[in-house]
Symmetry: C2
Subunit: 324 residues, 2 copies
């Protein structure tokens, strides 16, 4: 059995039912929407976020009808961001993909994303799930804010650890945190439990993103299918490099910053990767990821031992330690 199947065993029935609900919700009488929705449904997702939602619900009590709406909202929102991510960006044009066709698709991608988001909102509104709505809307704000801050910093090239953690918390951890929080909200009104689950997701998300950023230096393909060196090409300065720059002499820093100001070729990328490795950037980022994994674990301390809790811990390690 694959690791993810094993993790989701306590909620396998719930996930199956969610699949059916999701398929039914994605149906549309507008052919173009129906076709694109079917295309998206065929791209098998790992469903990390709805798994977190259901496990969080079970960890706090029982899965309720509201848990399904929470999981639907989260998955629709995640789908919306994936579709919006498909909008051709700088990186794609550099790789030569900016055909007229790709650009035509941009318009459709924007509209489909807006459509999925509105569908998610309406599911919660129709059932008066306003707390879930608040948590997810806040996640939308944080995600866009984090991505925009990252774009800004990739132009300015001035980024320290504090800004780095703000970016990854907002762009990545926000939705994983929301996935856990809405699951908890759907199952309990115990504020302490809800806050613990929210923080579990937040710390898991931060650890996950540090790990994902590390993979860019380790020459492996990440869980997101991101290819190596891509962050550097996009001028994304992540934790390993931030640490390395902070702990080097002025002339090394000057050389690297000069490289980053221009288009990076393979040679320069290899140079920067070696620089990061030699400066202990990898070990530092790893230890930071470990810190957040420990923080996440602590958030579950007050919950009794159970299958769902066990799965949450397994999932934490699955998404944050892969490919080490």
């Amino acid at each position: 059995m694959s690791e993810i199947k094993n993790i989701s065993k306590p909620i396998s029935n719930e996930l199956r039912k969610l699949d059916e609900l999701f398929k039914a919700t994605m149906k549309s009488r507008v052919t173009i929407i129906d076709q694109i929705s079917k295309f998206i449904l065929r791209q098998k997702s790992k469903k990390i976020r709805p798994i977190l939602t259901f496990l969080s619900a079970k960890n706090c009590g029982e899965v309720t009808p509201s848990s399904y709406r929470a999981a639907m909202m989260i998955e629709l929102l995640h789908t919306a961001t994936l579709v919006h991510d498909d909008v051709v960006d700088n990186a794609d044009t550099r790789r030569g993909f900016a055909s007229v066709n790709a650009i035509w698709k941009n318009k459709v991608a924007v509209l489909m994303g807006d459509y999925f988001l509105s569908k998610g909102l309406l599911i919660c509104i129709d059932a008066n799930d306003f707390k879930i709505l608040g948590v997810t809307s806040n996640a939308v704000r944080r995600m866009s804010e984090g991505e925009l801050l990252q774009i800004q910093k990739s132009k300015q090239l001035d980024i320290d650890e504090k800004v780095y953690f703000k970016i990854i918390s907002d762009k990545t951890a926000s939705l994983l945190s929301a996935s856990c929080e809405v699951g908890a909200i759907s199952a309990t009104s115990d504020q302490e439990k809800i806050i613990n689950m929210r923080n579990f997701g937040e710390n898991l998300g931060i650890a996950f993103q540090i790990q994902d950023d590390l993979l860019d230096y380790l020459g492996e393909t990440s869980i997101l299918g991101k290819s190596t060196g891509m962050d550097l090409k996009e001028k994304k300065i992540t934790l390993p490099l931030i640490y390395a720059l902070k702990n080097s002499n002025k002339s090394s820093v000057k050389t690297i910053v000069k490289m980053l100001k221009n288009d990076l070729q393979k040679k320069q990328i290899n140079y920067i990767v070696d620089f990061v490795k030699d400066s202990g950037g990898i070990e530092y980022a790893r230890s930071k990821a470990e810190d957040f994994i420990s923080k996440a674990e602590k958030c579950l301390d007050n919950f009794p031992e159970s299958e769902p809790k066990d799965s949450l811990l397994k999932l934490l390690h699955f998404v944050t330690e892969r490919n080490y």
Copy 2:
């Protein structure tokens, strides 16, 4: 005094206060968000939608704190769609604007739109304005659905009046309808009044879009700043042409459809415009717009005479009869 100033006289204080609120809401500690927000604020909008919201509120009772949140939500949502519209589409590439710079901006445009939308959602959520939230979320769904259907039909080139009215109701009338409905909701719990205001906005919106589509044939610049012949270039088949095609012989239809399948040059556009004019397409679309203007007027029949009601009627004629 300009017509729009005259129309908004009964709510000029409210609009001023909204301006202040809007400015305060758009502030952000993330520089890139702050800069783009300021840029958007400098582009003076006619504020048709918040004007509708406040006038609808006053027509149903009094402007309340909830009316301000409703107007904020509507204006933020409108801003989000404008920013998302800025994503480079097919038309722009044909006009040769698809520079790398424009494409880089795409990513930012998508994220800024998502950001504005989430800000609007959070304003309503924080104040428990859930009815307003439901109305606006439904408008988001309808807008994206309408735009997607229009894109689909511009590829298939099969469009009849029924589909045309579905497209323009969803893509245009939905937000104008929502602007009126949320205004009414913020001021009264009388369902009949709310429905009448919603329908007033819907009919106004349909008449507005027919008129806007007509301008493409009349060689004038529309209220939206759209340039002439653009719809045809984008294969948008609107009411005047739908009528003309329906009332012509097979060989004429064949000629036109053949033209539409290829990139249109000025010569072909002039040919199609003349074809539409000769077939009575202009008069037909005009009479249809008049029908919806009358319908909108009727929606206000049961409201007592008042300054706000008078302004709503003036606004109806202002947005639907300009440039006739």
